[in-house]
Symmetry: C2
Subunit: 368 residues, 2 copies
């Protein structure tokens, strides 16, 4: 069965050879696997094997097929492949998060990780308070036959979704601030974990090192695991130096600008005003700025403010905000990559460090 594959003159109904290839290119039609097979004088199954990197293809054959593929610019149709594979080449990015900057970073990172894989990213915002929350997502995943899913906080910690993923038996990865082993019952899934807690502890120690002793605190939305982690981190950092947050300076918040503004107003009107305020995210820190300015206070001369996220606003407000940065884009890229590699198991847990960004909003505690 020796053949001279790129020679002319085909006896079989198949065409092939250089002439045929050139002729095909001239036609400028979208190539299919059949075209490749005919031109390379092999069966479509062999071409398929080459596409899918099947080991059982003779190197020679593989090279010849690849040559034709490159020459005529063949790209397999994801829809047809998907139909045969019973799954699409789409990854779903599912989130219920109002932070635009965060979402775009995550998207960009995920796309970084998907580049070159032939898999596309489908965005899917949702509403965890909706009655149809779980059903909507189920339909999305089932109908689209997603290849995988990335779950962002806070819904990445939603039991209902985790159960759904299990039921649907779909590859997925969670992005969360809560280490799985702290859960009750423990959640065991592939996850991208950020060390919010350690970052916050560092920020707290930064304040202490500046001489702050009386510190106000604005809590995040307690429905987000991150809010608990961050609080724990701040408290740990302070506790190392024997400092605790006075109850009258400990305010609830929900991660929104407004809640930060209201909380800071309260804090700043306390009988003994603190020299610093910790906000559990940058939005609330921005709200605290407004409250401070309205009260005629200077930042950081009169009051130091720190936030968390290193969101866009952190460097837009004046003075630039001291905050804690999470490598969101890297986290998302890693999430997408591990999803693609299929190298994640139930206890794959990749951890990312947070980083303290010291800027103009934090200064020495005023005397007195």
């Amino acid at each position: 069965m020796a053949r001279t594959p790129l020679a002319t003159a085909a006896t079989a109904p198949r065409e092939g050879g250089i002439d045929a290839v050139e002729e095909f290119i001239r036609r400028r039609k979208k190539a299919t696997i059949n075209d490749v097979a005919n031109l390379a004088r092999v069966s479509k199954k062999t071409v398929s094997r080459v596409i899918n990197n099947s080991p059982s293809v003779k190197p020679d054959t593989r090279d010849q097929v690849n040559a034709i593929i490159a020459r005529i610019g063949f790209r397999p149709d994801p829809q047809a492949r998907g139909l045969a594979f019973r799954r699409s080449f789409l990854i779903g990015l599912i989130y219920d998060n109002p932070n635009a900057q965060y979402i775009v970073n995550m998207q960009t990172g995920a796309l970084d990780g998907l580049r070159g894989t032939g898999t596309e990213l489908v965005v899917h915002p949702c509403d965890r308070l909706s009655e149809t929350f779980v059903d909507d997502i189920r339909e999305f995943i089932e109908v689209q036959r997603l290849a995988g899913v990335i779950l962002l906080p806070p819904i990445a910690d939603d039991r209902r979704l985790l159960d759904l993923m299990e039921e649907l038996d779909i590859p997925f990865i969670r992005v969360t601030a809560r280490p799985g082993d702290l859960n009750d019952p423990p959640i065991r899934t592939a996850q991208i974990v950020s060390r919010d807690r350690e970052g916050c502890a560092e920020a707290a120690e930064h304040l202490v090192s500046l001489g702050h002793k009386r510190i106000g605190f604005i809590q995040g939305n307690l429905q987000y695991p991150s809010a608990h982690e961050r609080r724990a981190g701040f408290e740990e950092g302070l506790a190392r130096h024997g400092i605790t947050i006075p109850p009258e300076l400990d305010m609830p918040g929900d991660y929104s600008f407004d809640s930060g503004y209201r909380a800071a107003r309260q804090i700043l009107s306390a009988p003994r005003r603190p020299t610093a305020i910790i906000a559990s995210n940058d939005q609330m820190a921005a709200g605290a700025y407004h409250a401070a300015y309205e009260a005629g206070l200077k930042i950081p001369a009169d009051v130091t403010i720190v936030g968390f996220d290193d969101a866009d606003v952190a460097t837009r407000i004046y003075p630039p905000l001291t905050t804690v940065r999470l490598p969101t884009r890297d986290m998302a890229r890693t999430a997408a990559e591990s999803l693609m590699n299929g190298e994640m198991t139930d206890d794959t847990s990749i951890v990312f460090q947070a980083k303290l960004m010291i800027r103009g909003s934090s200064g020495p505690a005023p005397k007195g």
Copy 2:
């Protein structure tokens, strides 16, 4: 051929009837068009007709088929449909825009417009300066066989892309600040147009009404059509009252925070300081805030600042920024809807008004 479709006992190889339906549901298998056909005792073609709203189906038949579809929860597979239709059920959102808030708004709006259509949104950021810019997008569209494309500014005005769309003969819609009829040569495509110009004129008149006569200007990135539109608008508004921008207060910028900061520093250190600064977007306005604060100036007591976009930062910086709002989300929703309706032609041009948001950063011009 009269049948009692929901009765028991099928003579043909086909099964059907209530029992069969219940039996099927019990199996909890993903339904296909074949299942529906068997259960409804019609051919798959008839089911297909029902799915695609073909008029040539007897109402009775349609109802019966729909009943089965609802009962067993059949949802057609987009991949199979796509393969047969030779196009996917995906819309591409293509952009090269660093403004996270803007992108998320557009996405959300587009998804609003896509809801219920069975079409998903695939995000596709790109780099218009890359060598492979056009080819990348071509491949994206061709390989995915997109059902349509939404082009955001500034690439919505890129000739190369418009030519590509024409070549690929794909439904698309542009979002732009530049009315098509102002182009040279005129671009004739379906488009969503925002009236940046009128909004800016209104903002300019607002400044004049506050008594400002000496006004600094920070220009946007001239590669964006919007930068030209906005400048023209501001100038028009001022010109109506005989005011022009002094050349020494007319600064270049590129829509970035830093460029706004630099420009404002220059403007504020001019021999005769202006009483107001117009920035072509909010990012640059935020930069101007920093410059003003560093110079020890108060906003708006010493200097009034206005921006454009009503971005997130506008209400985060202190004091809240007077700016011009574009209904981005609505624009995107409309874009997606018209793409779906197929009701857009080369001269469909839907126009959205901008709206002046007066906030704390603009006040009366100081005396003297």
